[in-house]
């Protein structure tokens, strides 16, 4: 077995940063190589190297290993066990996210966007919502770049991934008041809503998904797909950053990179891996950087960056609802999906959400004391008219990201915000914090809240954030229209594949993880079939 059985404790980059790993009774990361394991340059060979262990890469690694390929999975971040998660929002952001959680897309507005750097990628810190893209969304993809992908074709992949992850609707006993109130508001207005399907087992409704699931209920890829890949013989190397592809313009030969220290990113040993197949699943922000730095930055690489921009409000109730109780994002509404609007219950570390409460000084403190009566709800928009770009930096590896939110997409977000306000009032709210510059801090009645429908709000007037990013290496039938074909095959370099959210040709209309995994499963099937 090529994978090491050594302890997976990387040395502490700084005191307090040690990744302790899970208890001995629960060793999902056994066999994973970590920073402490590297004592010399790494020179390896395999049949297929997969870059990135998030929803895309982990699926490909497992499927290829199970198909009998000799697989190496590279991950830049370290593994995190239950004991490594931090409840302090600042520490958590700094440890698990790229650019210490301060990554932002710059355009006419500054839009924070988070990507994980950890074994499991985004699945480690996401809300575990697993939703299938509706047929109409995939139809738009087909129209845009001529690919032959249909929902019927993707369904078997969705089913397979859902079964492996154990996706199930959020259980009633874990909802908590925050999720229940959203449902009550939707019911009162005749808006359809449902418990979110999630990849969890035995969820305790702790609302801590964002800082890492300490109960082990969340089935992120580091605890299922990666261990399954290892069981099938894959070698997994964390704290290794893939940097440049080895190729001659026609065929791939492998990849080079460096070992990097967890949390500081300091480079140590050089890494060189030769392989006939390279699958890039570093996420739609990092994969274009690798391609561009490898001299493969063609017409579409890094272009067509799309987001699901999100906007949130706080509903205020007249009695405590303890919003920190209940599954992180346990309820959502797909009612307005065809209009490009998805409505959700929101939760994040309390300190981050509390930033939205108005006031300075004693007024801010008073509002903080009322936090137990508030529930945050959010809208995400498909934002099909808005675009951005990812570009490799001159020095270093963090991409330059730009994004402009089209005014019509901003209007869609505002429409969603107005519906969330309706849901709040219908669920018994006594006030709403819209969080928009130029509007009152608190809207005190449903009538007053009607201003959300009339207000001309610019992106700069709102706090817009997005953690759903895609489209930077899109699929297309013809090489002139995209980077890869509908099986993730690079249009010009043989043996090179992409299997992350960069594949998307447009918005999936819902949260992207499940679609990334279904597509990755399809990519893996294609690679295994081509042997």
């Amino acid at each position: 077995m090529p994978g090491s059985r050594r302890s997976h404790h990387p040395p502490s980059a700084e005191r307090g940063d040690a990744v302790n790993g899970p208890k001995l009774t629960d060793m999902p990361h056994q066999g994973v190589k970590v920073f402490a394991d590297y004592t010399a340059p790494l020179t390896l060979a395999c049949e297929a190297v997969v870059v990135g262990s998030g929803p895309g890469g982990a699926v490909v690694a497992k499927e290829l290993a199970e198909a009998g390929l000799d697989v190496i999975l590279l991950e830049e971040g370290p593994p995190f066990g239950a004991a490594d998660f931090r409840q302090d929002a600042g520490a958590s952001l700094r440890r698990t996210l790229r650019e210490h959680g301060m990554r932002a897309a710059m355009g006419q507005t500054y839009m924070p966007t988070m990507q994980a750097v950890a074994l499991g990628g985004g699945s480690l810190i996401n809300s575990a919502i697993c939703a299938r893209a509706p047929a109409f969304a995939l139809e738009h993809w087909r129209e845009r770049t001529g690919i032959g992908l249909t929902r019927a074709e993707l369904d078997p992949h969705y089913e397979k991934v859902e079964r492996f992850l154990g996706v199930e609707p959020t259980r009633p006993e874990t909802l908590g008041r925050r999720n229940q109130l959203f449902k009550a508001g939707c019911d009162a207005l005749g808006i359809s809503s449902e418990p979110t399907p999630r990849n969890v087992r035995g969820c305790k409704g702790s609302g801590e998904c964002f800082t890492g699931c300490r109960t082990g209920a969340k089935k992120s890829t580091d605890v299922n797909y990666v261990p399954a890949a290892i069981r099938a013989g894959a070698r997994v190397y964390t704290s290794v950053r893939a940097e440049r592809l080895i190729h001659d313009g026609r065929a791939i030969r492998g990849i080079t990179g460096h070992v990097v220290e967890p949390f500081t990113g300091r480079e140590s040993h050089a890494v060189r891996i030769t392989a006939q197949t390279v699958v890039l699943a570093a996420g739609c922000m990092q994969t274009p950087v690798i391609l561009q730095k490898s001299g493969l930055g063609g017409r579409w690489v890094g272009d067509e960056l799309q987001f699901h921009p999100g906007l949130a409000l706080m509903a205020i109730y007249d009695e405590p609802i303890d919003p920190w109780e209940g599954a992180t994002q346990g309820y959502h509404s797909l009612h307005f999906l065809e209009e490009g609007v998805k409505l959700e219950v929101l939760w994040a570390p309390p300190a981050i959400l509390a930033t939205r409460l108005p006031g300075i000084g004693h007024l801010y403190q008073r509002n903080l004391l009322n936090f137990d009566r508030m529930a945050p709800f959010d809208v995400i928009a498909a934002a099909e008219r808005s675009r951005g770009k990812v570009r490799a930096p001159l020095f270093g590896w963090e991409p330059r990201i730009s994004f402009d939110l089209h005014k019509d997409d901003m209007a869609v977000l505002m429409r969603g915000l107005a519906i969330l306000s309706d849901i709040s009032w219908a669920s018994g709210a006594v006030g709403v914090l819209p969080g928009i510059v130029g509007l009152p801090d608190v809207l005190c009645s449903k009538e007053q809240a009607e201003m959300l429908r009339r207000a001309e709000v610019r992106p700069r007037d709102a706090v817009i954030a997005s953690n759903h990013a895609f489209g930077t290496t899109r699929m297309s039938r013809r090489p002139e229209d995209g980077v890869v074909d509908e099986y993730g095959r690079h249009h010009t370099v043989q043996g090179l594949y992409v299997a992350d959210s960069g594949l998307f040709v447009g918005s999936p209309s819902v949260n992207p993880m499940l679609t990334i995994m279904a597509l990755a499963d399809r990519v893996a099937q294609c690679i295994a079939g081509n042997r």
């Binding site: 700084e14 940063d17 899970p22 208890k23 629960d26 239950a82 302090d88 929002a89 600042g90 700094r94 650019e99 210490h100 301060m102 507005t109 500054y110 305790k204 409704g205 702790s206 609302g207 801590e208 300490r214 109960t215 082990g216 949390f263 500081t264 990113g265 405590p320 303890d322 920190w324 109780e325 570390p349 309390p350 300190a351 981050i352 509390a354 930033t355 300075i360 000084g361 004693h362 801010y364 403190q365 008073r366 903080l368 004391l369 936090f371 137990d372 510059v437 700069r460 706090v463």
Partner: protein
């Protein structure tokens, strides 16, 4: 963190979370200066520089935008509150974002203080066990 930066952070901390308020722990009492210093130490050089620039921006802000033409740390509490309020409502995006970023940083540190967390999260969720 340099001494002048500690003074700026302390001034910001007690402007956002003053003593004698409904939460009986001020920003400095909550350990915000230590929290921010530790936070900065663990950031990459580039990110640290950005946050340092943010502190400098706040310190110099009254010289340009008032309410009195002096450094932020030299203002009385009420004037400091006015500086933040004006920034929060400012049409200048940079000023608006600066105060929002500062608020996020400070609020994360404030919540990291157990007494503050206990005052806000009065009925904490049951302790989760793996």
């Amino acid at each position: 963190m340099r001494q002048n930066e500690r003074l700026i952070v302390a001034a910001c901390a007690d402007t956002l979370f003053p003593p004698g308020g409904p939460i009986p722990v001020s920003g400095t009492e909550a350990g915000l200066v230590t929290y921010i210093a530790a936070y900065l130490r663990k950031l990459s050089r580039g990110r640290r520089l950005l946050i340092r620039l943010l502190f400098l921006f706040i310190e110099l802000s009254p010289l340009v935008f008032g309410p009195r033409r002096t450094l932020f740390t030299r203002l009385q509490h009420d004037d400091r509150v006015r500086v933040f309020e004006q920034m929060a409502g400012s049409a200048m995006y940079l000023r608006h974002m600066a105060v929002l970023s500062l608020r996020t940083l400070m609020t994360m540190g404030y919540f990291a203080c157990p007494e503050v967390a206990a005052a806000i999260i009065r009925r904490p969720p049951k302790e989760v066990t793996p």
